[in-house]
């Protein structure tokens, strides 16, 4: 089941200058902390002239779509889904 959320969240992001990787590691949404196990896809979109970085990530059971607004430097949880999406 997939749901649109569009709520602000806290994210721990790790940048590795050797590997050149940027990986969100923990997401705090409401009272829960979720540990990211894999980044599926990192892509960018423009909303007007604001660049958003979107991270499609998963933990053991859920899928999260996170957006990082490069103008405000805020993170938002856009979407969440369990592993059976219908």
């Amino acid at each position: 089941m997939s749901s649109k959320i569009a709520e602000k969240v806290s994210v721990n992001l790790v940048y590795n200058h050797v590997a050149g990787t940027v990986i969100p590691q923990h997401i705090k949404w409401k009272t829960h902390v979720y540990t990211v196990t894999k980044v599926g896809l990192h892509y960018t979109v423009f909303q007007g002239n604001t660049l958003l970085h979107l991270f499609a990530v998963v933990n053991d059971t859920n899928y999260f779509l996170l957006s990082f607004n490069t103008k405000t430097l805020h993170w938002q949880l856009e979407e969440i889904a369990d592993n059976v999406t219908n």
């Binding site: 896809l41 892509y43 909303q47 660049l51 979107l54 889904a81 592993n83």
Partner: protein, 468 residues
């Protein structure tokens, strides 16, 4: 028996991203990998399936089926809505990667790209080889081809190449496949076809899916064609099959062995000769035709004969069309409206006296067409197209209308929408559908010329962001 197949070395590579939308969704969400999924225009039972995953295809699920048909074949089929930004991003990433191999990359559709390696055959490369060989007092064959090709490629800009050998493109293709997995997404697979012209390269790319790599050349073409039916060939469907059957051509091998006079008789036009050239690996499809029209289409989730509802949707389509027209700095001197009904289409177009450019002009012209269609039957799709396009050069055509003021207003609105996002400022007619979120972002199945423009615009914006 063998006709004269093009004797040049293959220089065209067709790359097809397998089950494009579904594979990208599986890339984004690893929990979906290995499951039968399908991306659909709407997730409702009557929604059209745009892309089934490789796993879903094994159950017989096909593009174009309704969601309920897909579910009847595969009860566990997971249906996802489409997410165009993801697909555009992957398309752009692929284009950037392919540009490292050749400067000539043509995006045929969201999941198909055509790469031309003619530069590897050029006289300049051969000349450079000979010159370097003389300089170093060695025989040509002892010069490291990779160095010469690399030098030429650097002189071309970004292209990375070597001198052309029989299996050069095969090794490029293998490297591209590996780099797609390591640099863009490990779940993405492509089928690659190589040949002496774009048509046979496309045919080769379709021979083994997913993850295929095939070359069609003068030695293997007959054996490959002997395994296919006429309708397996790209652009040959039932009607062309009937044409070919009428002159005794029943199989692809017959098609290949036919004379161009026979083919001219079958197609009743110059197309017969073009088919002859195409099948013999000769150049015929390389011309990039100029844009002739710009349009948008929308399939309604629920049929309606309510005129004001159709007008609102029309307004939004016109706004999108107008934005694209202006982004390309074009004007239109013709407009065409098409309404899809359950039992067919109503369509009407007209040429205009003056070129139009603003959304309000386009809306007025399209509303006049809509009035001719009244009373409406239940409408299931709506399409608007502008034609007779010309460069947007302002010329004073009338003393009484303040054209410059109108254009300045439109440009100001476009600047606001560029800054704050599409549809930040909209005509009042659109307010209701704006709230309801109708007319979703979609990707065309065939050509996506505007993608290049979007990429360019986004690159420029990226540069601006970096400067600030």
């Amino acid at each position: 028996m063998q006709k004269q197949f093009n004797q040049l070395l293959p220089s065209w590579m067709h790359i097809d991203l397998n089950s494009c939308f579904a594979t990208i969704e599986q890339q984004a969400n690893p929990h979906l990998r290995g499951l039968p999924i399908a991306v659909a225009a709407y997730t409702t039972p009557r929604g059209c399936i745009l892309a089934p995953s490789i796993e879903a295809k094994r159950f017989g699920v096909k593009t174009g089926m309704q969601v309920r048909e897909g579910k009847s074949l595969c009860p566990h089929l997971l249906i996802l809505p489409s997410d165009p930004p993801k697909y555009r991003f992957v398309n752009q990433a692929l284009t950037k990667l392919f540009n490292e191999y050749t400067p000539s990359v043509s995006v045929r559709s969201i999941d198909e790209m055509l790469l031309n390696f003619d530069y590897l055959n050029s006289q300049q490369i051969k000349q450079m080889w000979v010159t370097r060989a003389k300089d170093s007092q060695t025989e040509p064959h002892s010069v490291d081809p990779a160095r010469i090709g690399g030098y030429y490629a650097r002189s071309l800009g970004q292209a990375r190449g070597r001198t052309h050998t029989n299996n050069q493109l095969i090794s490029f293709a293998q490297e591209i496949k590996t780099r797609i997995k390591s640099e863009i997404g490990e779940w993405l697979t492509v089928s690659v076809g190589i040949s002496t012209n774009p048509y046979l390269a496309k045919l080769a790319a379709g021979l083994h899916k997913p993850d295929g790599l095939d070359e069609i050349n003068g030695q293997n073409i007959l054996s490959i064609l002997s395994l296919l039916k006429l309708v397996d060939l790209p652009y040959i469907k039932e009607r062309n099959e009937i044409r070919l059957n009428s002159v005794g051509i029943k199989t692809p091998v017959d098609f290949y062995c036919a004379t161009h006079q026979q083919l001219k008789a079958a197609f009743q036009s110059i197309n017969g000769y073009y088919w002859y050239l195409r099948l013999h690996g000769q150049s015929v499809d390389e011309i990039e035709w100029q844009r002739k029209s710009i349009g948008h289409q929308y399939a309604l989730p629920k049929r309606t004969s309510n005129v004001s509802e159709v007008e609102q949707l029309l307004c939004k389509l016109v706004e999108k069309t107008g934005r694209r027209l202006r982004r390309n700095n074009l004007t239109a001197q013709g407009i065409h409206l098409s309404l899809g009904y359950e039992d067919g289409y109503w369509h009407q177009g007209h040429k205009l006296h003056d070129p139009i450019y603003t959304t309000s002009e386009l809306f007025t012209a399209s509303k006049q067409l809509l009035e001719q269609a009244l009373p409406l039957n239940p409408v299931r799709s709506l399409a608007i197209t502008c034609f007779n396009l010309a460069a947007n050069l302002y010329t004073q055509t009338t003393l009484f209308h303040d054209e410059l003021k109108k254009r300045a207003l439109t440009q100001a609105l476009d600047v606001i929408n560029d800054r704050w996002g599409e549809f930040s400022v909209v005509p009042a007619t659109m307010l209701r559908i704006q709230r309801e979120g109708k007319v979703l972002d979609r990707i065309a199945f065939s050509g996506i010329r505007d993608l290049a423009e979007v990429v360019l615009k986004e690159d420029q914006q990226m540069e601006r962001e970096e400067i600030y």
